[in-house]
Amino acid sequence: MTRRVSLVKNLDWWTVFIYVLLVFLGWVNIYAAVYNEEHQSIFDISQRYGKQLMWIGAAFFLAAIILIIEGKFFSAFAYPTYLIMLVLLIAVLIFGREVNGARSWFQLGSIRLQPAEFAKFATCLAISRYISQYNFKIHKFKSLVISSLILFTPAVLIILQRDAGSALVYSVFLLVLYREGLSGIVLFVGFLSAVLFIITLLLVKLYVLLIILGFSFVFLKLIGMRFKQILIGVLSVFIGFYLVWGIVRLLQVEVSVYWILLISIALNMLPFLYCIYKERLKNAIWVIIFAVGSLFFTFSVSYLFENVLELHQRQRINEVLGIESNPHRGAGYHVAQSKIAIGSGGFAGKGFLNGTQTKFKFVPEQSTDFIFCTVGEEWGFIGSTVVLFFLLILIIRLLFLAERQRSPFSRIYGYGVACILFFHLAINVGMTIGLAPVIGIPLPFFSYGGSSLWAFTILLFVFLRLDANRLELLR
């Protein structure tokens, strides 16, 4: 009896309230998205909103069960849960059912389950458990390898299911690791990679090389090289360039400007290294690593982009970068229609059930991945910002709750939940307004679908359960 009372007292009711609110709003918007005159009852089980209501009921039931379970259970069973999940992810590759080109669903009678959704929860548990161990040192090689393994294994399995979108979610654990002491440089490198990735696709590789070169000189200045020396460096690259160019012309060989520049830079490396040695600039090695790494990175990006990514994935990325834009078909069409739906909502929206773009199916997947369009169209700028605010408040609240944990396991897990929710929010909403590539991942608590709703519910309520025990120390 005392435990019950303390649960009710210690449960973070604010979070529960926002959760229920979001789930309710999601359901209302699903009703609006697929509304038709023939099935007006919001409880009609033959329709998606009717089904969603059932799933919401089941989700509440799940939440209640989770709250009853002892908090210790989750940390104790973190690894077994993770392993079972891996088995399921492998099983789905073999026994799964293919939907929209992705083999990621189990069919159980009329219900379909997507293990990838639950894998996030299991991975979150496992990584929290691992990092919270006493012997974990973030910059120890072994620790890094094992945590990477924990994160990458499900991601790779999910990629094998041809569901790259869900796999990308695991990249967000970088933020969790950062919170737990991972060097900021990793985060910076991650950011740099993203920038390089984009400019590699946007620009001709010669310009990419020039940009890297320019950055390298800026870094050299930052680590203490003198301006005169940098000027000499720039000049010698120039002279080298013209020398090589002259020789190439003389020999009458067809060599592109890109390679000429690369050769001249390579020729300059020897005097450059000598200069560093003389000046005792140890940090210069980082600059070289940066330059060579970036170069290598851009190469692999082009290779990856041309040879590994599938056509539709390339198109989606190109779409966001504005390289290719065909508003009549494919990803371009989706984004164009989605923007039209949201944009036409105006300040106050067209009103409940009055959205035309979503209801008349101009927007694809209007009740799942593109549910935000219904919000934007029917509730306008006001409605969409309110929804964004609720989601943000929930996530920030989770950060706050995570920070008040005594046990590192709970804290790390809390960060994991917040980061996963954030990633879904950023990619899903970003894609509907044309700021992120079209990656089919759901908007937490909003999108239609039992698997994702249950997965997010479990994710969230396990943390709430842990938070209710925040004064205990879990290992």
């Binding site: 933020l175 950062y178 919170r179 737990e180 002491g181 009549h328 229609q337 923007k339 039209i340 739906a341 949201i342 944009g343 036409s344 909502g345 105006g346 300040f347 035309t356 773009q357 209801k359 008349f360 199916k361 101009f362 934007g376 306008g380 700028f381 969409s384 910002t385 964004l388 605010f389 989601l391 943000l392 996530i395 920030i396 950060l399 920070e403 590192p408 960060y415 917040a418 980061c419 954030f422 929010l425 950023a426 909403v429 970003g430 307004i433 044309g434 700021l435």
Partner: protein, 618 residues
């Protein structure tokens, strides 16, 4: 590890930053940028033009001449196209795939967003089958239009025809869209704006498959199409059809006018054509055929476009002018010795008693009499010179409506020509004499007059001095008045008192006993007044002309019949005029004239032109 707890600010900051960027983006999309609202409407609204029914056309007795029939055009909006079963589509429409590909290309060239016609005028059977399957072919929809239908297949020239609008017409009149029809000739053209009505529009919601999901704002934004106004023409369609029948196998024209009002009762140009040939898809083919391959020029409206010399009927005008100028009196007599002789000049005449007074000169159409009359006018001392005399004479002529467009409510009216003094000055080097232009006295020479103008001349005589501009539409819509200019009386320069003797002569043409030239136009119990004309035609047989009005008192009909290569006015012109008048006034032809009707109906001047012309070289 709590030494890293400050990093919560960085992580939280990232979250807040991203959401903040999203809100800015949303602000931009939803509030600042208006194009998305426009796109949304383009996406999901379809404006379906409601075509008004074109006004119907009736004759003066309320008989229907033109009505509408539904036709279905298959329209295409290229932007809404998506992959569909082309084999099924082609089978439904009965077309080949290359045609489909070509059609889509053409539509895309015209506009990506605007609808253009893919296939014109589907049959209602095809339409019925297609309509059920149309949802499978996004981008296509059916536009209902109306086509003209002619129950009596008559009066083609007067009614005119419709044709699809050209790009130029679309540019100059914002009412039109591609695929619309416009009146191109006849009444359809003159009264286009009355007949076409006002287009309406219905706005529907459509989904991504272009299926209609309901009406926009419950139809409050819709506009109903307003039907075109009906027209009541002045034509008597029975008379019109009878005239067409009489003129079969003959070239020429008939115009009948109600003198008191100027209303055109019948207007026949022969050979004519079936108005249905110019409806719908067959039009361009038939048009080509008629313009290029038919030497008889069926499209040529002889009543208003053909410029004929009037021949002897013009003697009436000359007689009236002489009376008005007081250079002769009705009892003035002139000699005729088988013609008019002046020095070396001779104008031949047929054999008749001599001398004759004005009435008998009209009755027997004496050339010499009117040559004298014409010289009297031009050489009258009160005009100082022949030239001044001619100018005075021409002013009288012009007051009859000759030499200029009358202003009929039909397009393509020719003005004809009455030569000016300047023209003759140039031709004859300043000083010319009356003898130079003497052929004008008998309606030959440079005179160019349309049958419509001749009919108007008869109306003037019937009215004893005035006319109303001939017109073909009696009323527009629900008894709306027609253009004021058709209600205005136009007086000629001849006093009404001067007409009596001429009209006496005209009655004698029909019933004057010996020497009468137009006896075949006689009708029992009706006083018909007429005048024959035989127009010299150098190359082929002469043209037969007859003008008449009846009854003499309170005339109801004025008519001109012009039969090309009909030789004498008495041979075809007079009988046809008589039959027409009888038909109009009595409604039927008396038994004792059936033989004449039969002869006229059977006469064939087109297929036997050669034999007739050799017989009657005059």
């Amino acid at each position: 590890m709590n030494n890293f707890s400050n990093r919560k600010y960085i992580i939280g900051g990232i979250f807040i930053l991203v959401v903040f960027i999203f809100i800015i983006r949303l602000f931009n999309l939803q509030i600042i940028d208006d194009t998305y609202k426009q796109s949304a409407e383009n996406n999901s609204q379809r404006q379906v033009t409601q075509y008004p029914a074109r006004g119907l056309i009736y004759d003066r007795n309320g008989k229907l001449l033109v009505y509408n029939q539904a036709a279905y055009d298959l329209m295409l909006i290229p932007r809404q196209l998506s992959a569909f079963d082309t084999v099924d589509f082609c089978n439904l429409l009965g077309i080949e795939k290359p045609q489909l590909v070509k059609g889509i290309k053409k539509a895309k060239r015209y506009s990506y967003r605007k609808a253009s016609i893919f296939l014109k005028q589907l049959s209602s059977e095809r339409y019925a089958v297609l309509q059920e399957k149309l949802y499978k072919f996004p981008g296509f929809f059916v536009q209902t239009r109306t086509l003209r239908k002619y129950p009596l297949k008559s009066a083609a020239h007067a009614l005119g025809y419709l044709r699809e609008v050209t790009n130029q017409e679309i540019k100059s009149d914002s009412y039109f869209r591609q695929g619309d029809y416009i009146g191109k000739s006849g009444i359809e053209r003159t009264y286009e704006k009355d007949l076409r009505g006002k287009k309406g529009v219905k706005i529907f919601w459509v989904d991504v498959y272009n299926r209609i999901k309901g009406s926009y704002k419950d139809g409050k934004a819709d506009k109903k199409a307003v039907s075109g106004k009906n027209l009541k023409t002045s034509l008597d369609i029975d008379l019109q059809q009878y005239g067409e029948l009489l003129m079969q196998n003959k070239k020429g024209g008939i115009v009948a006018i109600e003198p008191q009002t100027g209303e055109i009762l019948a207007k026949i140009s022969s050979p004519g054509y079936d108005p249905e040939m110019f409806v719908g898809r067959a039009m361009s083919k038939n048009y080509q055929m008629m313009v290029q391959n038919d030497s008889l020029k069926p499209l040529f409206d002889r009543t208003m476009l053909a410029l004929y010399p009037p021949g002897s009927i013009f003697k009436l005008v000359n007689g009236l002018i002489a009376l008005q100028e007081n250079v002769i009196s009705p009892s003035t007599r002139f000699e005729c010795q088988n013609g008019y002789h002046a020095g070396n000049f001779t104008m031949r005449c047929h054999a008749h008693a001599s001398p004759l007074d004005l009435r008998h000169a009209v009755q027997q159409s004496c050339n010499a009499y009117f040559a004298n009359v014409f010289r009297y006018v031009l050489e009258s001392p009160k005009f100082g010179s022949v030239q001044d005399g001619y100018i005075a004479w021409r002013n009288h002529v012009m007051s009859f409506g000759f030499g200029r467009k009358l202003g009929i409510d039909l397009q393509n009216e020719k003005s004809g020509s009455i030569p000016t003094n300047e023209y003759y000055q140039k031709k004859y080097r300043k000083k010319w004499r009356a003898l130079n232009v003497i052929s004008v006295a008998i309606g030959q020479g440079e005179l160019q007059i349309t049958p419509m103008q001749m009919a108007n001349m008869v109306a003037v005589i019937a009215n004893r001095g005035y006319y109303y501009i001939p017109h073909i539409v009696k009323s527009v819509g629900d008894g709306e008045a027609i253009d004021e200019k058709y209600l205005k009386k136009h007086n000629t320069s001849i006093d009404s008192a001067k007409f009596a003797s001429i009209i006496d002569g005209m009655e004698m043409v029909i019933t004057g006993g010996e020497g009468s030239t137009g006896t075949l136009a006689a009708i029992k119990d009706i006083r018909v007044c007429g005048k024959t004309g035989t127009v010299q035609n150098s190359a082929e047989a002469d043209h037969s002309v007859f003008v008449a009005f009846a009854p003499r008192e309170n005339p109801k009909i004025a008519i001109v019949v012009y039969v090309e290569n009909g030789v004498w006015g008495s041979r075809y012109g007079a009988p046809i005029s008589g039959l027409m008048i009888e038909k109009y006034l009595n409604g039927e032809i008396a038994e004792n004239k059936k033989w004449l009707e039969k002869r006229m109906l059977e006469a064939d001047l087109i297929n036997q032109t050669k034999s007739t012309s050799t017989n009657s070289a005059n």
